[in-house]
Symmetry: C2
Subunit: 242 residues, 2 copies
């Protein structure tokens, strides 16, 4: 079975449980003992929606949540907050602050001796990351990570796609149903550029009433309570570009 077939088998998982098992299996075949996948959708800025597939030791995960380590975790910041596209390999340069180093040392005690994190961003504003870790810390184990970095990144891409199909399409957001029409996007885009209704009307050669209409429709689709909210949602969900 080629690597690609292996990854594609993720796409045929029908349930979260099957996906979890399959991912654990593939990670194991690549030589990783632990994995964790998380995706975040900024449907709300103060309370973003998160879905997590946890293949880490439960104790460490509990410890992480309890200490609110997401706040300081540099891999989280790299992949999710800063939305980088390249992977990050866990080394001392990454965990350079004292708090970060402390967190890293604690994670070692739970068996996460070396590893790397991979980012995937979907087209609907969601940011995801996959972390793969080994309970070996030998030079050999670290070299293995480097040599497997391409396959690992690809695993992240396929896993994200699989999660997308299983969870996000059925999830509370119905991202796929939140498609905006061309006019709605145009109006939102110009509104985000600071244009008033009248100015947008001039730009698009329609009446101000129609601009209001499109912005209203867009806002309703996204559950926005006013124009500002609609713009913020469209931006953070990647429906329009700044």
């Amino acid at each position: 079975m080629s690597d690609l077939d292996l990854f594609e088998s993720l796409l045929s998982c029908g349930t979260v449980e099957a996906l979890h098992a399959k991912t654990a299996s593939i990670a194991g075949q690549l030589g990783f003992d632990h994995f964790i996948y998380g995706v975040q959708v900024n449907t709300s800025l103060t309370r973003p929606y998160q879905f997590i597939l946890n293949g880490y030791p439960k104790e460490w995960r509990a410890h992480y949540v309890e200490h609110n380590y997401q706040e300081i975790d540099p891999t989280y910041h790299h992949c999710i907050t800063k939305r980088q596209t390249i992977p990050v390999i866990w080394d001392s340069r990454v965990f350079k602050g004292s708090k970060e180093a402390k967190m890293r040392n604690e994670s070692r005690e739970f068996g996460l001796l070396c590893g790397a994190s991979f980012a995937v961003h979907g087209g609907h504003g969601e940011a995801a990351m996959l972390s793969l870790a080994s309970s070996q810390d030998s030079y050999r184990a670290q070299q293995d990570i480097l040599s497997l970095i391409g396959k690992s990144q690809l695993l992240a891409c396929y896993l994200h796609e699989a999660v997308q199909r299983i969870v996000l399409s059925k999830g509370p957001l119905l991202l796929t149903k939140m498609e905006l029409t061309l006019r709605e996007k145009e109006c939102l885009l110009w509104a985000a550029e600071g244009k008033t209704g009248g100015e947008i009307a001039d730009i698009l050669q329609i009446t101000e009433r129609t601009v209001t209409f499109h912005l209203q429709n867009a806002g309703n689709k996204m559950g926005a309570s006013n124009r500002q909210h609609a713009i913020a949602r469209a931006l953070s969900m990647g429906l329009i570009a700044p």
Copy 2:
């Protein structure tokens, strides 16, 4: 030199020309004779901005543009229009329509015998793709593509990051050092959640006038023309990301 070092060398390219040469070199080392990278940003929805790094035969590229093949190109639709995250390997299932098959056959005449396309999406709404092609069409060449698919995907990620850095460093907005006060960020965040001035006043236990004051100051700092604009800028500049 490990693969990772090779990919990371892309990040130190200072110019588009250097990046082009380096990418061609890396693609060559992976066994690909041709590459093309394109990124699309929907700044204008009717005429989106595109940046392309063309390592395809010039004749084919000209032919592609002349016939407006972007309209029917299934790899473009997969990576850019539909914003998928997984790669697509060029086979007959992909180019299944008659127009698509015609396009594919013509591309073969220009030396693009087998290949694959890889998608990367950044966190700011941009969609990018990297296509890698070989002028060999042997079973061996096709197997090589499959075995190199992980590295190819990773190349796409690094190339995208490199393009981001070069384009952003030349960009007109070098406002990353913009600093907002705590109150300004708080007000912006709640405004982005759709709260009105009065509601934010209640939340922060200050008067509505003061909310207006902070939002005004934040807007002035960012050169925003109104509240919507300030929210959009703060979001796209990552100033109020939680």
